[in-house]
């Protein structure tokens, strides 16, 4: 299979707009988690959130050209990440086949939920109802594709918290089998009352800052954001002249068929996803320099992921940490956001410190990286695990 090169990245998260804003906070160990301002929920100050610190209007005003985008927080976040992503690399000259593989868990729910009950009243037919189309996951993707000239080929994936990790995998396959020359992959989710109450009903939200891999972890913090990566083949590089930031060298999707919302305690799915991603790259586990863990800080996830890491790497566990303490769990965007962080780590040869950790989980005894450090990094594994037993792992390698 031909190599898949990453040539562009763009991102928005609670850490701010753009790659530079993210890295400044990551290097300094500054979290973006705090009470929400813009989320319309009675829970907005009860839990910490990784809310992007701007109103939707402010987000749109940051865009160079809004085009025909709908008045949507989802689309504003997506457009900001895509704008940076596409301007960070050059577009090949001549005819190329390109596409957009997007991911989201609830589409434009944020933009709809406040007006939903008005929308379902049979009698009232007001003039402009176009905004109602935002409930459909395809709508956001299509508006973004039109705005950025990516309408030749597009789709949207929704596999809960592994959605955008799967978007990257599908994009890689489309490139490797010659269906596309260049593909933009990623995901976006905005904070919604729907999802906040969903995770709250599952008792999965921590009222304090989340504590991945800590014995006293008590749930996750939800976040929002978007991230996109440009993937190109060797042929694409020749046409674009882009210099790769990293290589997507392995990937895997594995469903463990254990429980609708909880992972198996021994982490079968996490183990297989990581193992298969490494196998696909032709590497051995010993070659992995760092793991960007899923690390949501729920009781179940960190235990099963921790056990899987133990089992796969034995006594020589590479440095690992979760970046959920910075951004919150951004659901469908998480895989792509952490892919961007992995690319940054490889590019700058640095590990970002895990936060809020004090005591390891007994029996697993894993201690995440707690200090910022510069070190040699060749291969980074990034995990995204979701509802329904959906596990995905991506492997990023340094480009020399």
């Amino acid at each position: 299979m031909s190599s898949v090169f990453i040539t562009g990245i763009g991102i928005v998260s609670a850490l701010g707009i753009g790659v530079r804003a993210q890295r400044e906070k990551l290097v300094a160990g500054i979290s973006g988690l705090k009470s929400a301002h813009f989320l319309n929920s009675i829970h907005k100050t009860e839990f910490p959130f990784g809310e992007v610190p701007y109103t939707t209007v402010e987000l749109f005003s940051t865009l160079s050209d809004r085009g025909e985008l709908q008045q949507s927080r989802l689309q504003a976040l997506g457009a900001l990440a895509l704008e940076e992503c596409l301007s960070s690399c050059s577009t090949p000259s001549g005819f190329i086949r390109q596409g957009l593989i997007n991911a989201t868990t609830v589409g434009g729910m944020t933009d709809i939920e406040d007006r939903y009950f008005e929308l379902i009243q049979p009698g009232i037919l007001d003039g402009d109802t176009d905004w109602a189309s935002g409930l459909d996951c395809a709508t956001g993707t299509e508006h973004l594709a039109r705005r950025f000239g990516l309408t030749d080929f597009m789709t949207t994936i929704s596999t809960a918290c592994s959605s955008s990790a799967n978007a990257l995998q599908y994009g890689a396959r489309l490139l490797q089998q010659g269906h596309l020359d260049r593909v933009v992959c990623g995901g976006v989710d905005s904070l919604t009352r729907f999802t906040v109450n969903g995770f709250n009903s599952l008792k999965n939200l921590d009222k304090e800052l989340c504590k991945p891999f800590d014995v006293n972890r008590n749930g996750l913090n939800l976040g929002e954001g978007a991230a996109y990566l440009v993937l190109e083949t060797e042929k694409g590089l020749q046409l674009s002249g882009n210099h790769p930031l990293a290589i997507l060298s392995g990937y895997s999707n594995f469903n463990e068929a254990f429980h609708p919302t909880a992972p198996s305690p021994e982490g079968v799915g996490a183990f297989e996803a990581m193992k298969r991603a490494i196998e696909k790259s032709g590497l051995e586990p010993a070659a992995i320099s760092y793991i960007n863990a899923h690390g949501t800080a729920t009781l179940n996830n960190d235990e099963s992921e921790g056990r899987a890491i133990r089992r796969l790497f034995g006594d020589s566990i590479p440095p690992f940490s979760s970046t959920k303490e910075y951004t919150g769990h951004t659901l469908a965007a998480a895989g792509a956001i952490e892919a961007v962080f992995s690319v940054l780590s490889l590019h700058h040869q640095e590990i970002y410190p895990g936060l809020n950790f004090t005591t390891p989980i007994p029996g697993i005894e894993l201690v995440p990286a707690k200090e910022y450090q510069q070190t040699t990094l060749n291969h980074i594994l990034s995990n995204s695990f979701g509802f329904g037993g959906n596990n995905a792992s991506l492997l990023f390698s340094k480009y020399d």
Partner: protein, 341 residues
């Protein structure tokens, strides 16, 4: 070109009696109001009452369709599960939105939230059959099923898997019907529908009756792009318009879009059979699944279902089937299929 998907079995739950007999031999059911509603099977043989209670309207039919599809193929554990849905379990999404409002974000039952997740059916199928595998869900309106198909073909192409369960599922609700009405979906003749379709496909021929040889996807294309794309598709498979024995179109009675289908029909010889299917299923994001199911069953049974005939041709021997569907002018999909008998 894709690695062909050899369809070994196909199942459909639709507004017609398509499930038990797995054909369209029963009397055709006409529509009530402006909505085709799918016929639910008898769940007793599949689930206990407790299991049934935990599942929603859409996940029930989804799981039952998948179970029977795999049973027909004699397979208990496929190597991948790929699905497409435009809206997922709308009942659950709505139920959770109502609960949030009614209980003012208080203590809520998490079940509707969990089942509203688009990939929850995939997880259930995996759980039911204990399938540890590749598992994904595409949620892009009129492209949803097609990306599940295309992804399966890619996974065949790089030898990740040798077989896959591929499906689509959709439901309509009273509330969503109103929303779509306000968005203008029903005002020009199209009728609302719903259904669930599963296909078991293999990389190798192994006694399948129908192969999906290629899939083309265009978003909001110009007519020229469709024309050119179809010419290229046919020539890349070394056939021409005269080789098409059956043309299946996604006509939905909305006259605004007939010109797309006419563009293809005009190219075909008079001997080609023309088939449509939305007059029996209604229109929805993944309605194409009903047409693909019909194609697979007709190939297997070596006859054309009379209730689907729009214009009878004269071909006795069915080899090449061209399928074209578009969803409100946005997502246009073409399948090139070939019978293998």
């Amino acid at each position: 070109m894709i690695s062909p998907l050899y369809i070994r079995s196909a199942r459909a739950i639709s507004a017609q009696e398509s499930f038990a007999s797995n054909d369209l031999s029963k009397e055709i059911r006409s529509i009530t109001g402006n909505r085709f509603v799918y016929i639910e099977p008898n769940y007793q043989q599949y689930f206990t009452i407790m299991q049934l209670r935990r599942m929603s309207r859409l996940t029930r039919i989804g799981l039952v369709t998948a179970i029977e599809c795999l049973k027909d193929a004699g397979i208990s554990q496929p190597e991948a599960i790929l699905t497409g849905t435009g809206k997922g379990s709308l009942h659950d999404t709505e139920k959770f939105m109502h609960a949030i409002r009614e209980f003012q974000e208080g203590t809520l039952n998490p079940s509707p939230f969990i089942q509203s997740t688009y990939n929850s059916l995939n997880g259930l199928i995996g759980l039911h059959h204990q399938v540890n595998s590749y598992n994904t869900t595409y949620v892009h309106s009129g492209f949803s099923l097609e990306h599940a198909m295309l992804d399966a073909a890619l996974l065949f192409g790089d030898n990740t898997i040798g077989n896959a369960l591929i499906g689509a599922f959709e439901e309509m609700t009273d509330e969503h019907y109103i929303i779509k009405e306000k968005l203008g979906f029903w005002k020009n003749g199209a009728v609302s529908g719903e259904g669930c379709f599963f296909f078991y496909a293999e990389k190798d021929k192994n006694g399948s009756a129908l192969a999906i040889e290629d899939i083309k996807l265009w978003f909001e294309p110009e007519e020229n792009q469709i024309r050119q794309g179809l010419e290229e598709l046919l020539s890349s498979h070394q056939i021409d318009w005269n080789d098409i024995d059956v043309f299946i179109s996604g006509r939905n009675n909305d006259k605004r879009y007939d010109h797309y289908y006419n563009l293809v029909a005009d190219k075909l010889p008079s001997s080609t059979h023309h088939i449509h299917f939305k007059h029996l299923s209604g229109e929805f994001d993944t309605a194409a699944g009903f047409g693909i199911w019909a194609a697979a069953r007709m190939a297997e049974m070596k006859r054309i279902f009379p209730s689907l005939l729009l214009k009878e041709g004269s071909r006795d021997n069915i080899k090449h089937i061209l399928f074209y569907n578009q969803y409100y002018g946005k997502q246009h999909v073409v399948y090139l299929m070939k019978t293998t008998a």
